[in-house]
Subunit: 355 residues, 2 copies
Amino acid sequence: MDPYGLRRVVSPRGALPQRADVLDPALPLGEDELALDVEALAVDAASFRQLEQAARGDPARVAAEIARIVRARGKLHNPVTGSGGMLLGRVAEVGPRHPAASALRPGDRIATLVSLTLTPLRLDRILAVHPETERVDCVGRAILFASGPWARVPADLPEALALSVLDVCGAPALAGRLLRPGQRVLVIGAGKSGALVLARARELVGAGGFLAAADRSRDALDGVRDAGLCELALEVDAADAVATLRAVEDAGGPFDLVVSCASLPGTELSALLAVRDGGTVLFFSMATSFTAAALGAEGIARDALLVVGNGYVPGHAELALDLVRRTPALRDLLARRAAATPAAPLAPAPARAGS
Amino acid sequence: MDPYGLRRVVSPRGALPQRADVLDPALPLGEDELALDVEALAVDAASFRQLEQAARGDPARVAAEIARIVRARGKLHNPVTGSGGMLLGRVAEVGPRHPAASALRPGDRIATLVSLTLTPLRLDRILAVHPETERVDCVGRAILFASGPWARVPADLPEALALSVLDVCGAPALAGRLLRPGQRVLVIGAGKSGALVLARARELVGAGGFLAAADRSRDALDGVRDAGLCELALEVDAADAVATLRAVEDAGGPFDLVVSCASLPGTELSALLAVRDGGTVLFFSMATSFTAAALGAEGIARDALLVVGNGYVPGHAELALDLVRRTPALRDLLARRAAATPAAPLAPAPARAGS
């Protein structure tokens, strides 16, 4: 048994798959492994933005770079951001000793809830890149280890919506553990994880609470405000700590809980300046720099609990999907964003059975 | 008033000093600033190791690189590790509106408790590099902002000891908030911050607790074990997650609290594998990668609270110094390490008054 996938690590010796430079996706399936026919990659936002910038916005070059990384590393582990994403596929084969051996059958559609940075992956073809949803349609083969969480793609939600929610399902679950009635909460980044956190906060802070969202995009802010997910929308670039400090003062001063869902780097100090002494900052942004957070807090003498956004919380997938089901405005917002995506086809899509 | 030192930021616009590429240490002293005649830099361990490796262990080249960084950036902010350290000096001038205006006089010796990554600094001369204590004797001028914590160098402790304790004084203070009676605690890295955390843990876990230290250095382990600071010493390279996993199993299984004080990168997964579900990992190592911690936990489905080692906790300096005063074995251990340093003189030291 090899629950962490050690035997797939090519280099360096003694590393687990997440830290490995290279994985081997080609080994025969292990007894406790699961093989997936991959249909789509949901690339982590920080990783996608980096790839897009390096490719100057050209989807074909983004696709080529993704193919290059996967060929070189045996996984989609962005060497610049260190982040990955997750994937959607159909079960191809279940090892007899995999924990889901009795629950899953070949053909079942599931999403992996473990980062692509440690998922052995072979890509045969990239079909389309969708910049708005950071989604990449593709044909390939992936391996899931015994320790890797997964979720069945729900039948009652549109697939693009479900996938985009599952991608960040740890955010509302972990934020939920830190939310308390009456809190003043600031969410930095009004994208999908920000919207999910705001919706969960709306349920937990109660009538005495106060929710604010900060983003540099007016569109993103309008989305969460029109959905009733916050009382205040702060149009500010969180990489500009001075501007953020001013916006926080205008908003009535520091917050009890700040949740960073920013997709761009350099926002740590803004998060720290926005929290009160004794408060908590939850960093979900994969663009977070550990040293910038730790030294930034010390530098401004801010006595706050700083929490790393661990993407795994038991039951996170069902919690996030249920949150979307019971919050129609959130569902509409996320569905609009997931559907608004202008696909960037790279090659004719293969004919589907029945179409 | 400019409590965060915004006016000293040369670039980029809107950044605070910690995130700035370049600071200006040459501006006239602000009304709420404090100027220091610098005597020594206590370089952050992760930064010093990186500088040392790049210089192939040559202290003169370490000194040259430090001088180059400070000349280029106006601060000792290691561009590779993102970390700094702290410094020791005498008060040269106190602005009339600095919070310490009535407490400090020119000539008083203080240590800054704010990172060198945001401390405006000019270096006139580097006198000696001490690799064992990561200390650099020098002549220069530094600026402390109104928000920057500092501590008087205590008269009852040897200076090298006091400085080395103040450098990491946030570690035992923050760990103290997470320690509970009866816990099983693992400290990764048996250097000075590891020893301080173990000593604080010894006080707080009580007779029902269990303390283990992991390090790849037998000497470092012998030090903390001989000082009675732990029950178990695990000689293992924490960058080797597989070896660490095995060591943890041999030690009786996962821990309630894992504190990472490692000075080398790549130890995040070992920390995560060593903690139990529902436990806490406190990352003090400046070599910690945010994505490796967040995605590593997700990758092995570990439901643990991951805390960033915020270097500021109110009262941390006195707490750490008092811990050393009341723990003779810890004091001896740290004093031995601080004194054992073979200095690497770079130039004849200037004559001191009276010598």
